[in-house]
């Protein structure tokens, strides 16, 4: 492949459709934000749904015009707004900083419009889920319900994993979304062979314009502007997916909201990724919702349907008889309901990592003898991250491709005779050593099919520092996943996953701004008192539970 020096291409904005009325809504500091209003064909006043996003309210990436029509047909007025500094809105291009006050001022403007019946709800994914938490924290009395999807109130859950920078996600996001000249959005590829890593995105942009946000995220300097305190005072529908990288934070946000006991909090977890793609059986083709109009119509029904009874209940005082605290989908299985997460019937199960430097097995009993499993971490030859940073389910990677590497330790169960349902969180606890003064450890939980292909179920990353060996728990987050008979559960350990995370340099150099590297020898303790172990929550009666 020829790598172009400036591979960024400009992405055109969508035209505001004819059924939208555009406004330039004035914020308290005089900055005006581009805002489209869609109203139903019948009536004069309606409950209002608002979404505030950085991805073009009129474009086809988030298809807000289609979403607006779906809701107007159901009796809601819909307001969609480009956030400050993005697309058609004025102001500096800078995420997070103004979303609380801009959310308040926009809800305030809506509540003064003649077509507003009173209560305002908000909806949207990812950053436009986060803008809901920001608006909620502003305390505007007209804001009555939230439906944040694939996001937590603390944006650091997206930018970091146990302190390690989520480099690929943040780099792509900055490149495509937060460019300081603010005239265009960009598409294109990043060249991850560039060093130091901080130069990857600026190089793709040809040096000018520059990405905002990225250096602050890399150095974990976003601070409290990206973290919204959870109060739980508004009814909320927390919509997530088991393959969404923010799910761990989102479940935390739901738990904190529910613990406040101030308003109903519903958690809905589907077997989807950060987009909306569902997990599929092997060989089942990917269906692009945008392939044609009929596919899009049926996709919108699936995507938006969970919100309809929630908004009808919170904004129109209609009854919602089958409301449940937690609705969740077991991947390769049915939808279930439970009173809590993890479901009360789930129980923790433990597997010990048994073997040596070539890997080994996952056993329910540990070896008595303690022995190290060793590998070399070479910063010049990192373990490639196979899963897509945002959309791992569109073209799921075969995770067995890296299992043969000497620097990837693989432990797996025997083929299962009965189905096994993972239902709850999972983590890996281990004692880790390295010849450097700090190191990283990445863990991946994989479903190995009878044909040997591997499907990633969960993953995590953590850092460790002396005294060696150091105890580390790698949090893998939660899932609902059915392992079918004949399949094996596999755990992979490595010291890198690139470019998903920065490469640990093996030295004390800054992995973002510098490239001063040296290989290090790593080890993890197997067996004995400090035996490495995997813990998962398992629901009994996999495949037969009601």
């Amino acid at each position: 492949m020829i790598v172009l020096p400036h591979p960024a291409t400009r992405r055109p904005f969508g035209d505001v459709p004819h059924d939208a009325r555009p406004y330039a809504v004035r914020m308290r500091d005089g900055i005006r934000l581009a805002t489209d209003v869609y109203v139903p064909k019948q009536g004069q006043r309606w409950p209002v749904l608002l979404s505030r996003l950085p991805y073009d309210k009129a474009g086809d990436e988030c298809f807000m015009p289609l979403i607006a029509r779906w809701f107007t047909e159901r009796g809601y007025a819909v307001v969609v707004q480009d956030v400050r500094g993005k697309i058609r809105s004025d102001g500096d291009t800078e995420p997070f900083r103004h979303e609380i006050t801009d959310g308040y001022d926009t809800v305030d403007w809506i509540s003064r419009q003649p077509w507003c019946a009173g209560p305002v709800g908000m909806f949207g994914d990812s950053y436009f889920g986060w803008t809901q938490w920001a608006a909620a924290s502003s305390g505007h009395p007209a804001l009555a319900a939230l439906a944040p999807r694939v996001i937590s109130a603390d944006f650091r859950d997206l930018t970091h994993r146990q302190g390690i920078f989520a480099m690929e996600v943040c780099s792509l996001w900055a490149f495509e979304t937060w460019i300081d000249e603010a005239l265009y959005d960009y598409d294109g590829q990043l060249d991850w062979s560039i060093r130091p890593l901080c130069d990857v995105v600026p190089t793709a942009l040809g040096g000018r314009p520059r990405p905002a946000f990225l250096d602050d995220a890399a150095k974990d300097r976003l601070g409290t502007i990206a973290q919204i305190p959870v109060r739980g005072d508004l009814p909320a529908l927390h919509l997530g997916g088991w393959w969404d990288m923010t799910r761990r934070g989102q479940i935390n946000t739901w738990r904190q909201s529910a613990a406040a006991r101030r308003a109903p909090q519903h958690l809905v977890m589907d077997a989807t990724d950060h987009g909306w793609t569902p997990v599929r059986d092997q060989g089942e083709p990917f269906v692009d919702p945008m392939a044609d109009e009929a596919t899009m119509v049926s996709f919108l029904d699936t995507y938006l349907a969970p919100m309809a009874p929630f908004f009808d209940a919170t904004l129109r005082e209609r009854s919602w008889p089958d409301a449940a605290p937690v609705r969740w989908r077991i991947a390769h299985g049915p939808w279930e309901q439970s009173a809590d997460w993890p479901p009360p019937r789930s129980r923790p199960a433990e597997w010990f990592l048994v073997g040596d430097s070539r890997g080994g097995a996952l056993h329910t009993v540990a070896d008595d003898a303690e022995r190290p499993a060793r590998w070399l971490h070479d910063p010049h030859n990192p373990v490639p991250g196979l899963a897509h940073a945002y959309h791992p389910l569109i073209k799921p990677s075969d995770e067995s491709a890296t299992a043969q590497r000497d620097d990837v330790l693989v432990f797996q169960t025997e083929p299962l005779r009965e189905p096994m349902d993972l239902a709850g969180p999972a983590d890996v606890t281990l004692w880790l050593g390295a010849t450097g003064s700090s190191t990283y450890i990445m863990a991946r939980l994989i479903d190995v099919a009878p044909d040997g292909t591997g499907m990633r179920i969960l993953d995590g990353a953590a850092s460790a520092a002396p005294p060696w060996p150091a105890a580390v728990t790698v949090d893998l987050g939660s899932t609902g996943y059915r392992l079918r008979p004949g399949h094996q559960l596999r755990l992979e350990l490595s010291s890198s996953e690139f470019p998903r995370y920065p490469i640990h340099p093996g030295t004390d150099a800054d992995p973002w701004y510098q490239w001063d590297v040296r290989p290090t020898e790593q080890h993890v303790i197997l067996g004995g008192q400090r035996a490495a172990r995997l813990r998962c929550f398992v629901a009994p009666g996999g495949g037969t539970a009601a």
């Binding site: 406004y23 330039a24 086809d60 289609l66 809105s89 000249e181 005239l183 919702p289 945008m290 569109i394």
Partner: protein, 219 residues
């Protein structure tokens, strides 16, 4: 496939614009953005290949651009980018001076908040384009601004006439290197017109437009 966006986004609603109209829009834009050298002759096959279409829609687009005076027939009947005479440009200025203050005063009578806000949104982008020194992006905003005034109140004949006149000025001014101060001054004049329209003040809007045309000839 490693981007935030899963695939190059395609619209669920297919683009229903006829090919010839799309080719016309693309070609007009490329010419006015100075993407062809002055005096370039354009061939149907060459343009068709460039835009990935057959010769028929290109021929139809050429006919429309010839009609608008953006293209003209060269000495050996080939199609070249037009070079408007000073006399023609003076006529364009005369017509705009005569028409646009009237369009503005008529629009001021019936523009609502959203109509005026659309002008504000155009100027947000225009100000950004000045800062980024992106003159074509700025001049596109300038076109959008002037055309939106008759468009917003349903004066489509006025809008069409103005588009044709502005096409000729833009063609003649492709080579101008604009000073930031000039563009800032033009933007401030636009903002004065917006305020008069927002106040539903026909005299004020006509006066602001006339003052703008007098100060900013040919913009």
């Amino acid at each position: 496939m490693k981007g935030f966006r899963p695939e190059p986004a395609r619209s669920a609603a297919p683009d229903k614009t006829p090919t010839s109209k799309r080719v016309y829009e693309q070609l007009r834009r490329a010419i006015l953005h100075g993407e062809f050298q002055p005096g370039t002759s354009l061939g149907e096959t060459q343009i068709g290949t460039m835009l990935g279409v057959s010769r028929t829609p290109v021929r139809e687009a050429f006919a429309e651009l010839l009609n608008q005076g953006i293209l003209e027939e060269g000495a050996r009947r080939q199609v070249v980018i037009a070079n408007p005479t000073d006399g023609l440009l003076a006529e364009v200025v005369m017509m705009r001076d005569a028409l646009e203050p009237v369009f503005a005063s008529q629009a001021a009578l019936s523009m609502d908040v959203s109509d005026v806000d659309q002008l504000r949104l155009i100027m947000i982008r225009a100000r950004r384009a000045i800062r980024a020194r992106d003159v074509n992006a700025y001049l596109d905003c300038d076109d959008d601004f002037h055309l939106h005034i008759p468009h917003a109140v349903g004066h489509h004949l006025a809008e069409d006439a103005l588009r044709r006149l502005r096409g000729l000025t833009r063609l003649a001014t492709r080579e101008i290197s604009w000073e930031d101060e000039t563009l800032d001054r033009i933007a401030a004049e636009h903002e004065a017109i917006i305020e008069a329209l927002a106040d539903n003040d026909p005299q004020g809007a006509a006066a602001a437009m006339a003052a703008h045309l007098a100060s900013s000839t040919p913009y």
